[in-house]
């Protein structure tokens, strides 16, 4: 449990008994259903597609995938929460719902401020240089031009993009996936977030960057945010999180202190 810091500015609605148990994310029986077009068997040819359109058979074309089934939990300020589970268990989907990018089918997600989701699979704008992406990312997050200018060097230094030459002035499409992920993490981590969610970011960077980002996550937590981390690397979960949610087949299987849940998970996966 995080220790209450006397320097933290306390909000107006401060509960006198427990200033340290302020919820930041509440998931209330969240269900998420994907509707997938083109997930049908049958022929994938143009004539087959035309045939389906002519015969108006939409039901056959769209399949439903129930990715998250009734997950409820409450996250508090200052917590770092790991999300574990086998591939396809709904971890990333749940994060997207918390970020407000994917409206839940049933149930609700309440958040304090705007959660930010940090994924590794896409660069920001591939055609633009890293330099431009830093500026645009900062502005898009709502930083002022002065703030961006002031933080620019920190962001570039933190990402370590320029350690092997002047890569920041090259278009992002020329970056390796690891480099792009590092730059994205650095941009998003430059601002204080109420809720920061990281999707496997720590697994992609090299050792040195992993260390640095773990430290940065600790700093972000001190600044009174909540951090969610999806990872298949139990070590990085152990190093950064104090609470773990275990999802399996879209259901919340376990929620508790890191050691307890990881022990059960490792037994389940047969380690």
């Amino acid at each position: 449990m995080a220790v209450a810091e006397p320097t933290t500015p306390t909000p107006l609605s401060k509960a006198p008994q427990a200033p340290d148990r302020r919820p930041t994310v509440i998931a209330d029986d969240v269900h998420i259903v994907y509707r997938v077009a083109g997930g049908t068997r049958g022929k994938g040819s143009a004539t087959a597609a035309l045939n389906r359109i002519v015969r108006r058979k939409p039901s056959g074309r769209v399949r439903e995938v129930h990715a998250v089934k009734g997950v409820s939990f409450t996250a508090y300020r200052g917590e770092a929460i790991g999300l574990i589970g086998s591939n396809g268990s709904g971890k990333s989907t749940l994060l997207r719902a918390i970020a407000g990018l994917l409206p839940p089918e049933r149930g609700k997600v309440y958040t304090d401020g705007q959660p930010s989701l940090l994924g590794v699979n896409a660069a920001l704008l591939n055609d633009l240089t890293g330099e431009r992406n830093v500026v645009l990312g900062g502005l898009a997050m709502g930083m002022s031009r002065e703030e961006v200018r002031a933080r620019y060097q920190d962001i570039v230094d933190f990402s370590g993009i320029n350690e092997k030459g002047d890569f920041i002035t090259l278009p992002m499409r020329t970056y390796s996936s690891g480099m792009a992920a590092r730059l994205r993490f650095s941009i998003a981590a430059a601002r204080r977030h109420d809720v920061l969610m990281i999707d496997e970011a720590l697994a992609t960077g090299d050792k040195k960057f992993q260390k640095r980002s773990e430290n940065r996550i600790r700093e972000l937590r001190k600044e009174a945010g909540t951090v969610f981390l999806v990872s298949h690397n139990n070590k990085s979960i152990r190093d950064t999180c104090d609470r773990v949610l275990w999802l399996e087949k879209g259901e919340l299987r376990m929620d508790g202190p890191t050691e307890d849940v990881l022990a059960a998970y490792e037994e389940y996966t047969g380690k």
Binding site: M1, P11, S13, A15, Q17, A18, R21, R22, P23, T24, V25, I26, A27, D28, S72, T74, R96, A97, I98, A99, G100, L101, L102, P103, K108, V109, Y110, T111, D112, Q114, P115, S116, L117, L118, G119, A122, A123, L124, L125, N126, D127, L128, R132, V135, L136, G137, L139, A140, M141, G142, S144, R145, P171, R184, A188, R243, P257
Partner: protein, 301 residues
């Protein structure tokens, strides 16, 4: 975690959320608040459109020269086909010598609307990386793309200026009318881009279809031939007015009226400024509200 009983323990999730002022994640903000958020991101919008403009030709060796060369080559092709081969120059107000200014203005002004629609269709769909990674009012994207096209048009206007002077047009007070005409067209294009951004986010197939729709629109708007002269003997006058009242024709005619000496109000659709203002307001307001209505759904897919 063995914590002592907490006063919050008996609350339902909704009550707990209300107590600490938590809001539903991803909910669409009210319209006025949305406009305020958009205003806060104005520097982002400006920086984004400038960056896109520069990235556009970053892989070409001549680089930014293409900003000016592309519209010029476009005008040259249409001059070759319509001015020389098909001799469409008859009927241009003031006589044949006005055909090249007429054509160049038409091509540049129509391109502004055309490109706004085309980039609008892809505005959200092609920037999913940004949309999924960061939170900002999504209307920033189509607006930034229309701004990019406006900047592109301003480059083209330099070419236009040279052409006008070369073909004997003299700068006059009426040239100042360029500014209100551009402002109205910008508003119109912005609305159009937002409508197509929402449609394109749901149905990416539109990117394949739109070039054909736009080409039809171009031929129906009198970009390279004067509508009045072309249609005069074939259809009744009210039909000509109807065709000339379509937004692309209106904005082209306003610009030609402003820049070409021999143009009078008799040569263009009746009430051109009112028509322009009407189109701008209808498209701008409807497009903005229509786009905002789906704000929470753009991260999907």
């Amino acid at each position: 975690m063995q914590a002592p009983p907490h006063p919050d323990d008996g609350l339902t999730p909704a009550e707990l959320a209300a107590k600490y002022g938590l809001s539903v994640s991803g909910a669409r903000p009210p319209l006025l608040q949305y406009i305020r958020q958009l205003w806060q991101r104005r520097h982002f919008i400006g920086a984004f459109s400038r960056a896109k403009l520069q990235a556009q030709y970053s892989q070409a060796k001549l680089g930014q020269i293409w900003q000016v060369a592309t519209p010029l080559l476009n005008a040259a092709v249409y001059f070759l086909i319509f001015g020389i081969i098909m001799e469409a120059r008859e009927g241009v107000p003031g006589g044949d010598h006005n055909y090249v200014p007429f054509l160049v203005i038409g091509v540049f002004i129509f391109t502004f609307s055309q490109q706004s629609v085309l980039s609008g269709v892809r505005a959200v769909a092609a920037n999913q990386g940004l949309v999924r990674a960061l939170h900002f009012p999504r209307a920033s994207l189509p607006i930034a793309f229309v701004l990019q096209q406006l900047q592109q048009l301003l480059y083209s206007m330099v070419v236009m200026l040279v052409v006008l002077l070369a073909f004997g047009q003299r700068p006059g007070l009426s040239w100042l009318l360029v500014f209100p005409a551009l402002a109205l067209q910008f508003l119109f294009n912005g609305g159009l881009a937002m409508i197509f951004a929402r449609l394109g986010a749901g149905t990416p197939d539109l990117a394949q279809l739109m070039p054909f729709v736009l080409r039809t629109w171009m031929y129906a708007s009198g970009v390279m031939f004067p509508l009045h002269a072309m249609l005069a003997e074939k259809v009744p006058p009210w039909a000509i007015d109807l065709v000339a009242a379509n937004p692309a024709a209106v904005f082209m005619d306003l610009m030609r009226f402003a820049l070409i000496d021999d143009y009078t109000y008799a040569d263009i659709a009746p009430y051109p400024w009112l028509l322009g203002l009407g189109w701008a307001l209808v498209a701008g307001v409807f497009g903005f509200v229509y786009f905002w209505k789906a704000e929470e759904r753009y991260g999907r897919g």
